[in-house]
């Protein structure tokens, strides 16, 4: 299956101002949210591991733009962006980061473990690659129930070397499961660059061995991601089984907050920021296309900043979970209704 180079250029002319502004707003929300999370981490309000999504915003925003109501998503521990993009409340996400009662998991999950049944967000998983069979399982459930929903299963270039990914590819294709495998190739598995972890750098092609079609996508171009996402969804929804998107992206920050990032140069990061930044890209499209003025965009910046500040305030003010929460949610007591 040939890689279809995303048709971003041609798509641009058809994109409405409204859509572009939407992408801009959502990507900006993720970036500002993550910057704030980094700040709160530095202040000691967020503990443990905290993996920021800065630089990768176009991936989730593009794919969410392609998704429909009822489609599912599941990802790894670098999950804040996915939650914001699928419409989860920034307050609840931030309060989970600070380990407070108002968090999505009542403070019991933390940065890596958040869920929202309402938004069909199935986590938030801390073991590299473990979400891949889980995502295929969600797709299995939809197929079993006979609906046409699709599950986005996100994982990184690091997880792409895990054995369970290939066990899952095999079964997903064997059983025609409606799952889009999204490899967020941000070039580094913690401190190990893709070049140092595999000699077959085109990761989507590994699916060919199992009969799964796929393509490489420019993950710094939200429109290209959306277009590719639509192709993938169409394939899955029509009952043809899984599809792989290898989205080339870049993470500006360290693997987690405690990563000194000595494995790459400052210049490398700066170059991507200067030349390929996904938010700057949309900003440019908006300005050159005369869809918005500098003032319009400033107003959006201000609005987003307010949302993030509100989330941070909430996350600081929300009380720590009551001590008896230690002992709840270990076992479900309610026997579910028959399907």
């Amino acid at each position: 299956m040939p890689a279809k180079k995303a048709a971003a250029k041609s798509a641009k002319s058809n994109v409405s101002a409204e859509e572009l502004l939407g992408h801009y707003r959502e990507m900006l929300l993720i970036r500002r949210f993550e910057e704030k999370a980094g700040q709160l981490y530095g202040m000691g309000l967020i503990g443990g591991f905290c993996h920021l999504y800065i630089g990768q915003e176009a991936v989730v925003v593009g794919l969410e733009a392609a998704a429909d109501e009822g489609d599912k998503r599941i990802t790894s521990y670098r999950d804040h962006g996915h939650m914001l993009a699928c419409g989860m409340d920034p307050k609840g996400v931030m309060a989970e980061l600070t380990g407070r009662e108002g968090g999505y998991s009542k403070g019991k999950g933390g940065s890596m473990h958040m869920f929202s049944k309402e938004k069909h967000f199935y986590g938030g998983h801390g073991i590299v690659g473990a979400q891949v069979p889980l995502g295929a399982g969600l797709a299995f459930a939809d197929k079993y129930k006979g609906n046409d929903r699709v599950t986005f299963t996100y994982f990184g270039d690091g997880a792409a070397n895990q054995g369970q990914v290939y066990e899952t590819y095999n079964m997903a294709e064997l059983w025609d499961l409606p799952v889009v495998f999204v490899i967020e190739n941000n070039q580094y598995a913690m401190g190990t660059s893709v070049q140092r972890s595999t000699k077959s750098p085109s990761m989507w092609k590994r699916g060919v061995a199992y009969g799964i079609p796929g393509e490489e996508v420019d993950g710094m171009d939200v429109l290209a991601v959306k277009t590719a996402g639509e192709r993938a969804i169409k394939h899955c929804r029509s009952g043809k089984g899984p599809y792989i998107l290898e989205v080339k992206t870049y993470r500006y920050r360290g693997h987690s907050m405690s990563d000194p990032a000595k494995y790459r140069t400052r210049e490398e990061v700066q170059k991507v920021r200067d030349e390929r930044d996904p938010i700057e890209h949309v900003r440019e499209l908006l300005l050159t296309g005369k869809h918005a003025t500098e003032d319009d965009l400033k107003a959006i910046d201000k609005e987003i900043k307010a949302v993030v500040n509100e989330a941070a305030e909430f996350a600081k003010e929300s009380p720590e979970p009551a001590l008896d929460e230690l002992w709840t949610d270990i076992y479900a007591t309610e026997v579910q209704q028959e399907a």
Binding site: K117, Y122, I330, T333
Partner: protein, 454 residues
């Protein structure tokens, strides 16, 4: 020279089988590789090939004969012109090298002296009973629950077309179809994860592991994904599902296929752990496991699969989790066990009774939740306790039980608790070594005599 054809052992745990069909007759010439007979084990019908050449002199076992012991002479081959020697055909069978199983359980009827007041709480006295193997009981439980609830499905290696590697899922594919009885490739890690994801998505999977030894490939998904998600999500979503399959030693299958995982899974908050002994346990507990809204580890035992027990004929027979069964009431010592450990415990209790020691035997049935109340109540009465399991000693189930007793009934103890376990070694292959590595009822008897100072 005449050659004796012996009843073959066609599985590691086979002790006897049915000679379903002869494909040769007296006077036929057979050569190596010819199929001579069809033999039915408790798991499958197998073709039995000739190894030697010769003329069929005599068929000693009629077609359709059940319960033919492994190593019984079933036919005689002679050479051309030779007569069938006299005096052949008598069983020369040495006892099967497999660890001797307990005598076919003679249910309650043959029950001994001790009062049975609180020993049979699972069904009313007037309920009709049916002799059922553990294997059939497990199948019946799954079939009943699949009829009851569309969201329940079975997945695993060889569960569908092969009818189950141990024949547990026999007939399920026919009744429920390939959508609900699903053969997987040999990828435990992957299909366990897909099962957990399907549970997150609202289905109620039964994930069969061909044995729990192979579930080690999948243990991350069992513990990190299935057991912990309810907690990590603040109660939003969990995994209603069952992981089941044979656990512990079978017979002569060596170190990598002979491990008891009871103590491992018992340790994990978020999991429930059931481990049936009898067919009634198997049926009642598995039905409860499938309905339980949590992930349940269901530890079966290959040696018990073929054993028959009485199962009540009821439309909907379930056994609640966390309720131990007193298999035998007694006053001198409490023996606590679970799963196949009960065979040693009950055998030991019989032997002890001959020496005038009345043992109370407790079948835990679920290890998490564990019915420690029943253990403690018994220990307060007998003042002595012996635990029995096939697993290893360090970090054992018995070790946990003895700590509970020490902390909650210390003043009642007249002797230290003794934990009878498998030996602290990987399982050896050699028959004599394997026998020593496993537990024996004599060891349980000795432990009971030690704690009763007899």
């Amino acid at each position: 020279m005449a050659t004796e054809i012996l009843m073959p052992a066609l599985s590691p745990t086979m002790e006897e089988g049915t000679l379903a069909k002869w494909l040769i007759k007296e006077g036929d010439t057979v050569s190596s590789g010819d199929i001579m007979a069809e033999i039915e084990t408790d798991k499958a019908t197998m073709e039995f090939e000739a190894v030697d050449e010769g003329i069929v002199g005599k068929l000693l076992v009629a077609e359709g004969t059940e319960g033919v012991k492994v190593n019984d002479v079933i036919a005689i081959l002679v050479e051309d012109g030779e007569d069938v020697p006299t005096g052949t055909g008598e069983s020369k069978a040495e006892p099967a090298p497999a660890p001797a199983a307990e005598p076919t359980p003679e249910p309650a009827a043959a029950a001994p002296a001790t009062p049975a007041a609180d020993t049979s709480p699972d069904w009313d006295a007037d309920v009709e009973l049916k002799q059922t193997t553990v294997r059939e009981a497990l199948r019946d439980a799954m079939a009943e629950e699949m009829r009851r609830d569309e969201a329940v499905f079975l997945m695993g290696e060889e569960v569908a077309e092969y009818q189950g590697a141990y024949k547990i899922s026999q007939g399920l594919l026919d009744e429920f179809g390939a959508k609900r009885v699903i053969d997987t490739p040999i990828t435990e890690h992957g299909f366990a994860g897909i099962g957990v994801g399907a549970a997150f998505g609202g289905l109620k999977p039964i994930v069969e592991f061909m044995t729990f030894n192979f579930a080690m490939q999948a243990i991350d998904q069992i513990i990190n994904s299935a057991a912990k998600t309810l907690y990590m999500s603040g109660g939003q979503m969990g995994a209603q599902m069952v992981f089941r399959g044979p656990n512990g030693a079978a017979a002569r299958v060596g170190a990598q296929h002979s491990q008891d995982y009871s103590a491992w899974y018992m340790q994990i908050p978020g999991l429930k752990v059931a481990i049936p002994y009898s067919a009634a346990d198997a049926k009642g507990l598995l039905k409860s496991a499938i309905r339980d809204p949590n992930p349940v580890i269901f530890l079966e035992n290959e040696i018990l699969y073929g054993k028959s027990f009485e199962v009540p004929i009821l439309d909907d027979f379930t056994i609640p989790f966390g309720k131990a069964k007193i298999e035998r009431a007694g006053s001198d010592v409490t023996i606590v066990s679970f799963g196949i450990g009960l065979t040693y415990a009950l055998e030991a209790a019989e032997k002890l009774a001959e020496d005038g020691i009345n043992a109370e035997v407790i079948n835990l049935r679920t290890l998490r939740p564990m019915d420690t109340e029943t253990i403690l109540a018994s220990v307060r009465k007998t003042n002595r306790c012996v635990t029995v399991e096939e697993g290893w000693p360090q970090g054992s189930v018995g070790g946990y039980i003895s700590s509970v007793i020490m902390q909650q009934a210390f003043d009642y103890l007249d002797a230290p608790v003794i934990t009878c376990t498998g030996k602290d070694v990987p399982m050896p292959y050699a028959a004599n070594l394997e026998k020593h590595a496993l537990l024996t009822s004599d060891e349980v008897v000795k432990a009971c005599k030690d704690v009763t100072y007899r």
